[in-house]
């Protein structure tokens, strides 16, 4: 088997075994008929950041779960610091110095940072001595790696970025020498992601080894030393980051050439289809989130809403879609003012010609327990069948049509929706919302957690809708996505529209500053030389400064 024929990279690294923190040799793993990992060889050098890229379902997470002891490989060997090990569970992995930061944090929300860090690592029956020792240790770790978090803060009051730092602290506190990060930036704002990369840089300087799983190529280019590409359960290639390019990586991941840039012609705006006037919306706790916003979207244009997550985008989308009552203002589609009161407003918004691709497809856009065909009619169930009965035949043939047109894989109508990959789930939602020919399409985070091949497809579909004369409102926390798709950019900050920009001429720094509610003349360009920042906003401001963004725009 190929295990006897290691590739060149593996052979060269094998000669310096002691320099390897982790070595995986010939790992195989099956789940029933699915061969999730095929004879994987991977060598991770100590003191490096090693990226692992691949599309959803390529086997990255399975491989890391084997390394972390969640799964046992069917065959193959794991060597930690050159010594073969049978890793039985995560506790064992930790004892070997392997820590993992999960995509979905494993934190107790109502515990403090300190309590979360020591949870499961208490060294006595009484909590107090452990906590006191941990506090000192934590301070030291924070100093060494720039992982500042208030040890007494309650988790649920922390931002996502801070929670992630707690996860990293947890692993370091348990003595992790090798850190596995699974899609760490999926939930972070650009500024938080930058901060994370600075932390990773520090960790590398201190001799820690980092395995970074991601499908964002610019992150790979920005931070890793080496990168391994996986496709369909197999390890395709391991490369030196400095010798490769995003284009090459994308091609290796997908197995064909991928356009990383969106190709689109100029917009041809027509009449106003979506007209939002003086909209005021509150969140579930009656706190105003959208504060008197007015804007219009015309036929044949894409208006992008840029902003740091949590500045009112969700509430704006949900209220236009009829899912959230308005405190004031009007929403008109095609010159007709929508009445969206009550908890079935979404039905009336749809009837008026508005389609909605929600930000969070799993929480909102799909019933994950439903089969593919059932989700293909969600929201439009009323138009399948006369009277009481549901016309299942019609629903299924529609769904079949959707799956084919949007190349959903597997094209299995009866597969439970939770068993599709993120990209394919998103395609089901997009097909459903686009194919019924709405006048207005509002789209939230169209490519969140979607792999690179599908992103290209989704972007092209959105452009196609625009060119067909639809009005499209796009909300995304990916600034790149907003810039490449939109014809106009509106910047949302703290529930207000604070600016408008032309994507062709907009400067990323300028947009970043608008998104954080500041103006360019207030920029502080020398991070690190300043006194402690008073508010998180100022902290973000510093993190957004151009100096730190240099070298990251790799496209």
């Amino acid at each position: 088997m190929t295990g006897l024929n290691p590739t060149n990279e593996q052979r060269s690294s094998g000669t310096a075994a002691s320099a390897l923190a982790i070595e995986l040799v010939g790992i195989n793993k099956h789940f029933g008929p699915v061969h999730a990992n095929r004879d994987i060889h991977l060598a991770v050098r100590r003191g490096t950041v090693h990226g692992i890229v691949g599309e959803n379902g390529a086997g990255k997470s399975t491989l890391m779960s084997i390394l972390y002891g969640f799964y046992t490989a069917d065959s193959g060997e794991i060597r930690v610091n050159g010594v073969p090990q049978k890793i039985t569970d995560s506790r064992h992995a930790l004892a070997l110095g392997i820590g993992m930061v999960h995509q979905h944090f494993m934190l107790v929300d109502n515990f403090t940072v300190l309590e979360n860090v020591v949870l499961g690592a208490e060294d006595s029956a009484l909590l107090r001595p452990t906590l006191n020792r941990a506090r000192d240790h934590l301070k030291q770790l924070a100093r060494d790696y720039g992982l500042e978090v208030d040890p007494d803060a309650i988790i649920e009051n922390l931002s996502v970025g801070q929670q992630q730092r707690v996860e990293i602290l947890k692993a370091l506190y348990r003595g992790a020498e090798t850190l596995i990060l699974d899609e760490p930036t999926g939930v972070l704002t650009p500024a938080e992601a930058d901060h994370l990369f600075r932390i990773l840089g520090k960790l590398r300087e201190e001799g820690k080894t980092i395995i970074l799983i991601t499908h964002k190529l610019r992150e790979i280019m920005a931070i890793t030393d080496e990168v391994s590409v996986m496709r369909q359960g197999a390890m395709v290639k391991t490369l030196q980051t400095k010798d490769t390019s995003p284009g090459e990586l994308a091609e290796l991941m997908v197995g064909r050439r991928v356009l990383l840039r969106v190709e689109k012609g100029p917009a041809n705006p027509g009449k106003v289809l979506l007209d939002v006037k003086n909209l005021i919306v509150t969140d579930d706790f009656k706190v105003p989130r959208v504060k008197n916003i007015s804007f219009q979207v015309r036929a044949g244009e894409i208006v992008g809403i840029a902003g740091v997550a949590g500045n009112g985008q969700s509430e704006l989308l949900e209220s236009i879609a009829g899912m959230r009552d308005q405190l004031g203002g009007t929403i008109s589609v095609n010159d007709k003012v929508l009445s969206l009161e009550g908890d079935d407003g979404a039905a009336r918004a749809r009837a008026a010609g508005l389609a909605h691709v929600p930000e969070d497809r799993l929480r909102m856009g799909l019933v994950t327990n439903f089969m593919a065909w059932e989700n293909a009619i969600l929201g439009y169930q009323g138009s399948y069948g006369e009277g009481l009965g549901l016309d299942i035949g019609k629903a299924r043939s529609t769904a079949e049509d959707y799956l084919k047109k949007f190349d959903v894989r597997p094209a299995n109508l009866d597969l439970k929706s939770s068993n599709f990959s993120g990209g394919n789930q998103q395609k089901i939602v997009l097909a459903r919302e686009m194919e019924r020919d709405p006048d207005v399409l509002i789209v939230g985070q169209p490519t969140r957690g979607v792999d690179i091949g599908a992103i290209e497809f989704i972007h092209n579909q959105i452009i196609k809708m625009r060119d067909a004369g639809k009005a499209i409102l796009l909300v995304s926390v990916e600034l790149d996505e907003i810039r490449s798709l939109s014809d106009r950019i509106l910047v949302l900050f703290d529930g207000h529209l604070v600016g408008e920009a032309d994507p062709a001429t907009a400067d990323e720094t300028e947009l970043g500053l608008l998104m954080t509610g500041s103006h360019s003349d207030q920029v502080i360009t020398e991070p690190g030389t300043l006194p402690a920042h008073e508010t998180p906003m100022q902290q973000t401001l510093v993190e957004m400064s151009p100096k730190d963004n240099s070298g990251r725009d790799t496209n």
């Binding site: 195989n28 069917d74 009829g322 079935d344 979404a346 039905a347 059932e374 969600l378 169930q381």
Partner: protein
């Protein structure tokens, strides 16, 4: 953990749970010095062996089908209706009121009206917790439990103080005339001798088909299942969660109400204290064992019917086994199929998927 194949999930696992329950029950029978195999034999004979025993089994099954469907329907909408007991009890009031009002009329006229009146009362009794859940966020489990108590107190008062005729000693309403009562099957079929199984049994079978159609073949059922799996997505789909919760609870109460038609209209011919006698609670176990699917509900209702009727036969035939022990065995079945129903899932899954894994490793 890899999910079980469908046949194992639907057939094998519940079957193993029942077997396990009987094994443990057998140990208890053994512990009191009786022969478990003989006990099982007597139980099966009591449930199926002779006409009137079989009739009783079907009579109990009727109750359990309705209660089980009531819990199942609500459960598909994500609502845990603990209150079929109270809903059936209150429905008894509707059944007896219409029965007494039309006393002496032919059952062919009264039977449909009993169904309607029972449904109205039972539905209303379930609607209130539904309303409180939808509009006020009061948890349905708490309110339906409390409504059981309210039903008991209210019905106790009404039966002993209002409905009880002069000169009657026991707490019960005036009786319905024979022609007004829902006819028992023994009047058509010799086999059932003196058992109480009546026309309502066919209503239960029809209800199984109806609920299947409702949940899987209608837009309404689609909305109910969307709500049950993911209320946020249901809201996204333009489904009014509040309206649907109230409607589903009312319908759930209507299904539970049919227990009253079976009992008050078909057997007692009068309203007696606590006539529901736990059938509503058994419905919860039936629904869970049947996984909310009408086929499963039908089969598990039959199992509990066997346990009830066969258990009484057992208590009668084997003096060493008391009523309490029968209840213990019934409780074991509920424990192993309901509360611990997933206990064997993991080992079973390992057992069933192992051949794949070993061949894959080569």
């Amino acid at each position: 953990m890899t999910p079980l194949p469908r046949w194992a999930d639907v057939v094998l696992l519940p079957l193993l749970n029942v077997v396990l329950a009987f094994l443990v029950g057998g140990l208890i029978v053994l512990a009191v010095g009786q022969n478990p195999l003989q006990a099982v034999g007597i139980m099966l004979y009591g449930a199926f062996g002779y006409g009137s025993g079989f009739g009783y089994t079907l009579y109990y099954t009727t109750d359990f089908i309705f209660a089980g469907l009531a819990v199942s329907l609500a459960y598909h909408a994500g609502l845990f209706n603990i209150g079929p007991e109270g809903q059936a009890y209150v429905a008894g009031l509707g059944v007896i009121l219409i029965g007494l009002a039309l006393n002496g009329m032919h059952w062919a006229l009264v039977f449909p009206l009993m169904i309607v009146a029972g449904a109205l009362f039972g539905g209303a009794w379930a609607f209130v917790p539904g309303y409180l859940q939808a509009k006020r966020g009061s948890h349905i489990v708490i309110t339906t439990i409390l409504f059981n108590f309210i039903a008991t107190a209210m019905m106790g008062f009404l039966i002993s103080r209002v409905l009880k005729p002069e000169g009657v000693n026991s707490d019960e309403s005036a009786p319905l005339e024979a022609i007004t009562r829902v006819p028992q099957l023994r009047t058509f079929i010799e086999l059932f001798k003196n058992s109480p199984v009546n026309l309502t049994f066919f209503l239960a079978i029809a209800a199984l088909f109806f609920v299947y159609w409702l949940i899987w073949r209608t837009k309404f059922g689609y909305a109910v299942r969307a709500l049950g799996h993911n209320p946020v997505a249901a809201n996204y789909a333009g489904i009014s969660n509040q309206k649907l919760i109230m409607i589903v609870m009312a319908m759930s109460g209507m299904l539970a109400a049919m227990v009253a038609v079976n009992n008050v209209g078909g057997v007692q011919g009068r309203l007696i204290l606590n006539f529901v006698n736990g059938a509503g609670f058994v419905g919860i176990a039936v629904a869970f064992m049947g996984k909310g699917h009408p086929v499963g509900v039908g089969l598990s209702a039959l199992l509990f019917g066997i346990l009830y009727q066969g258990g009484q036969e057992l208590a009668f035939q084997m003096p060493g086994i008391t009523r309490e022990m029968i209840v213990t065995i019934q409780a074991l079945v509920i424990l192993f199929t309901g509360a611990m129903g997933d206990m064997l899932r993991a080992p079973l899954s390992r057992l069933l998927t192992r051949p794949d894994a070993t061949t894959g490793a080569k």
